[in-house]
């Protein structure tokens, strides 16, 4: 994987930010540790030297130079870590542990660091030291110091440890960030690759799921669910297109044949006129089918949801029943309406009216009662759904005709499906499909039951959309 790409990942950038924060806090912590260890040692050295100086100053005040020299000589016998040196004005050593004055200028605070040769059992060693020096009266020189070799070594140890710790922190953080980003990037790359395949038309592909249940998996699962839905819609669409091709082609073919045959024969103007009139009627039928299909598509796409208002169901049912009442009466059928006054739902008046109209149309066309049945009523009703009081209504249209066998009921909701028994009545096979689409648009469902005898179509609709 190219490094540049790796460095550009958000994971890596995040890792670097965390690393910087972590390093800053580590440095603070270690600085504190350093100040408390190495710093403490340094302060201790200086305090010890100051104490010695204070002691010697006291001797000098009491006994003058001779007592000071005497004390220095005494202390130099068993100096430990302490260093002493007293010089006369000419620079000769009067007392002390050093061979000569160190060639280092003191700093502003009077302290200076230097090295000196220390005698050991096997020769001399160069050691680090720290001291303060004073000029006494008459040009005598006094140096009081301490060997700091050991302290320096401890300091170095601590400093090295700290540098290593910080270095290691940063190195580990960087490597960790890179590894993390690479893993992340590898999975994102997988997802990208699958997406590209899908975009290129392979809708059966799905995004890989690592099974860790993390955010990427959740994302993948959601996208896959979305793809499932798209695929289902595409399949549905293909079925519809096939249906349209089949069910619009046949009437178009019929229409074309009629015109062709008319043109082939010797015909009177009256014949032509008749043929043309039949052609117009057929074209109108086709347009009707086409409009119904469009309406179903619009209802299914949900774009008509914007045109929703509060619809008075009782008025809607009465109006639709009133429209069909004369047609029903011609077949000696009555329409009964049972709906409480002022039953309202959130919906599209036009579509709900059309749904009820289609159901009535079906009931009148296909729901004629058996000979001898005295009960010749189409029952239209709407009421509060007892299963969902206050939230749902159930709207139903029931006839007393032959009904639909149970195994055929779901089939008649599909587009263009017409049962054998109704082949000879006019119709497009789209009426119930539209009713079902209207129910779905309103967030409801459709159910077909046995009315004993007859068919009962019930729409279960929510009062306020979803």
């Amino acid at each position: 994987m190219p490094l540049i790409k790796l460095l550009q990942t958000s994971t890596f950038r995040l890792a670097v930010i965390y690393l910087a924060l972590f390093a800053a806090s580590a440095i603070t912590l270690l600085a504190y540790v350093y100040w408390n260890t190495a710093g403490f040692l340094a302060r201790q050295t200086d305090e010890a030297v100051e104490a010695e100086i204070a002691g010697l100053a006291e001797q000098y005040r009491q006994g003058g130079l001779p007592l000071l020299v005497h004390t220095v000589i005494q202390r130099s016998r068993d100096p430990g870590q302490s260093l002493y040196l007293v010089l006369d004005p000419a620079g000769r050593v009067l007392a002390g542990t050093l061979d000569g004055r160190p060639q280092v200028e003191p700093g502003a605070d009077g302290w200076f660091d230097f090295t000196y040769n220390r005698k050991t059992l096997d020769g001399t060693e160069v050691k680090a030291a720290r001291a303060r020096a004073f000029y006494l009266q008459e040009g005598f020189y006094l140096l009081v110091g301490r060997d700091v070799q050991e302290r320096r070594e401890i300091e170095n140890l601590i400093t090295n440890a700290l540098i290593w710790a910080i270095g290691l922190t940063i190195a580990l953080g960087l490597v960790g960030g890179l590894v993390m980003s690479r893993n992340m990037l590898a999975r994102v790359d997988d997802i990208n690759r699958s997406s590209r395949d899908i975009m290129e038309g392979d809708l059966s592909q799905r995004l890989p799921i690592a099974g860790t249940g993390d955010e990427l998996d959740q994302l993948g699962r959601n996208l896959n669910a979305m793809l499932d839905q798209i695929e289902a819609l595409m399949i549905g669409m293909r079925q519809v297109t096939d249906n349209i091709a089949h069910d619009l082609r046949s009437p178009l073919n019929r229409l074309r044949n009629r015109i062709e045959v008319t043109l082939m024969q010797e015909a009177t103007p009256e014949d032509y006129k008749q043929a043309l009139e039949k052609t117009i009627a057929e074209a109108d039928n086709l347009l009707g089918t086409f409009n119904a299909l469009l309406m179903i598509a619009r209802a299914e796409a949900g774009s008509l949801r914007e045109a929703m208002t509060w619809v008075d169901l009782s008025a809607t049912l009465h109006d639709a029943a009133e429209l069909y009442e004369p047609v029903a009466e011609e077949k000696n059928l009555a329409i009964s309406i049972d709906v409480p006054e002022g039953l309202m739902i959130w919906g599209n008046r036009e579509l709900l009216s059309q749904a009820v109209a289609n159901l009535l149309d079906n009931a009148i066309k296909h729901g004629l009662p058996q000979e001898g049945d005295t009960e010749r009523t189409i029952a239209v009703s709407a009421d509060i759904d007892p299963a969902r009081p206050g939230r749902g209504v159930v709207l139903s249209v029931a006839d007393r005709g032959p009904g639909i066998p149970e195994d055929q009921r779901h089939r008649v909701l599909e587009r263009f499906v017409r049962l054998e028994a109704s082949r000879n009545t006019p119709g497009s096979g789209l009426g119930l499909s539209l009713v079902a689409a209207v129910a779905r648009l309103h967030g409801g469902t459709i159910e077909l039951d046995d009315n004993r005898p007859g068919l009962r179509v019930s729409l279960f609709l929510p009062v306020s959309g979803r």
Binding site: I280, G288, N291, Y324, P326, G431
Partner: protein, 225 residues
């Protein structure tokens, strides 16, 4: 009548122009929105027939501009967009009627007649009369030859609409839109049955029929010539 047809589909326009000329109208044709607007502003027409989707300037904007300029000529929109909200948009822009493609020519003709009549309204009338049939809109009473005829509320509205457009052809779609306020096409010819019921009440026992069927178009209420 002088009619301007603004339609970019030349074949469709030729068909409309030919049909309207044969019906005795004088027709001008514009093939795009700009040309149509110029024509409509520069001379006077009785009706404008405007396609919704036009090159250079769409139909809605043409009509909006005309209305801003104070041109009150009735407008009939023709459109392949047939949804209720498209219809409402058309009427809001200043259109007077809206016809969805494809349409029957008889439908177009009937609507043009109604539009022109609407543009010159008589003062509000409470009594309508066709031949010897009289309707009192306030008392909701229908009388023919001195006999009172009892109508259902919807039958009354149906008759009222037919009376208001007496002498004109009224299509089934127009009745469905204006009497029932439905914009869908019921699969069965329900309107015909309503008409025959009405006919049974107002025509059956009288010598001269008033309610006539116009083949391929719709109905017309008129007294015998």
């Amino acid at each position: 009548m002088r009619i301007l047809v603004i339609e970019d589909d030349l074949e469709a326009a030729a068909y409309v122009v030919k049909g309207l000329r044969e019906s005795g109208h004088i027709i001008d044709h514009a093939a795009d929105g700009e040309e149509g607007l110029t024509l409509a502003l520069s001379s006077s027409f009785d009706v404008l027939i405007v396609d919704r989707m036009l090159p250079k300037r769409d139909g809605l904007s043409v009509v909006e501009t005309l209305r801003e300029e104070g041109v009150r000529t009735p407008v009939l929109f023709l459109s392949a967009l047939g949804e209720v909200d498209d219809r409402i948009k058309g009427l809001k822009a200043g259109g007077d009627d809206y016809l969805t493609k494809p349409y029957a020519f008889a439908e177009l003709l009937a609507r043009i007649e109604v539009l022109v009549r609407r543009a010159n309204p008589d003062q509000v009338r409470t009594r309508l009369q066709v031949g010897n049939l009289e309707v009192d809109l306030l008392a909701r009473k229908v009388v023919r030859e001195g006999q009172e005829i009892d109508l259902q509320p919807r039958e009354f509205r149906l008759l009222e609409y037919l009376m208001k457009h007496a002498g004109q052809v009224v299509t089934r779609t127009m009745l469905l839109e204006n009497v029932w306020e439905y914009h869908f096409d019921p699969q069965t010819n329900v309107i015909d049955v309503h008409i025959s019921r009405l006919r049974a009440k107002i025509d059956k026992n009288f010598d001269q029929p008033l309610l006539h069927t116009v083949r391929g178009a719709g109905y017309s209420l008129r007294a015998a010539d």
